[in-house]
Amino acid sequence: MDIPYTVEVRRDTGLTNGKIGIWLFLASEVMLFGALFASYILIRTGAPSWPRGDTILNVPLATFNTLVLISSSVTMVMAWASLMRHRFGTFRIYMGATILLGFVFLVVKYFEYSHKFENGLYPSTNNFLAIYFTLTGLHMLHVFGGMMVNAYFLGPGSKLWKTNPEWFTNRVEHSGLFWHFVDLVWIFLFPTLYLL
């Protein structure tokens, strides 16, 4: 049985089912990260003293990672725009760049984490590091998940382009919405953890 409303919009919602599905999922993600941000506020306001992020964390590396993730958001939206213009070759270049930038982000985080562990700084060391590792760790999992989905659309999933290009374009758009959300979360994590 075919999945309904993948390309044509539902008359009652004016949207495809995939579009509604990804936005409902993102709404649940907002609450997941919202709960952790609320925990951060709770822990920080309840603490007698709180360290400035830049005294413990590496701001230049995190700034570089912010620029990397913003760039990946642009390449992601350009990948979708390429499909809208029926340029599959260009889509592959932009999607490949998006995955590569995601990989760069994770490599930089690996070096950041390694440096902390080498200096004996663990989640159990203090509340600041506990919330830092929890928030950035969960965010990294999201980056990894987004990379896997994007890699699928660059690889085996791209076969759909030949049989149903409109459906494939919609799928890439939905994957892009998730990727931009991951970028959006980092936009708030960066100043909250590293600069304040």
Binding site: I20, V30, L67, H180
Partner: protein
């Protein structure tokens, strides 16, 4: 693909590039402002204001929220209400610096 459609996508692409430049500039501004070591309330306000502008640019243009259907706005409004309630929870459960049990 019609020429109108192609021109429409080209216009979108130009907007993406402009937003990209704005996001890069705002990131640098955030880092530079943090170097001034402003008092915490001001530093938090500035950092969150810039982050909100950046987040809005991503949501409006990259996620196309600026031209989305009403149902998506309704879902996000409901999410925003619960999100604000979640963030406000610590404030309303603390009285004079002590937890309300």
């Amino acid at each position: 693909m019609t020429s109108d459609h192609a021109a429409d996508i080209d216009r979108h692409v130009r907007v993406y590039i402009t937003v990209f430049g704005a996001l890069m500039a705002l990131t640098i501004i955030t880092v530079v402002v943090s170097r001034f070591h402003l008092p915490v309330p001001i530093a938090v306000s500035v950092a969150l204001l810039v982050a909100t502008i950046k987040g809005s640019l991503v949501a409006c243009y990259f996620m196309h929220l600026i031209s989305e259907k009403k149902l998506i706005y309704a879902v996000l409004m409901l999410t925003a209400v619960f999100f604000v309630a979640l963030l406000a929870l610590p404030a309303v459960t603390v009285h004079n610096g002590y937890w309300i049990h």
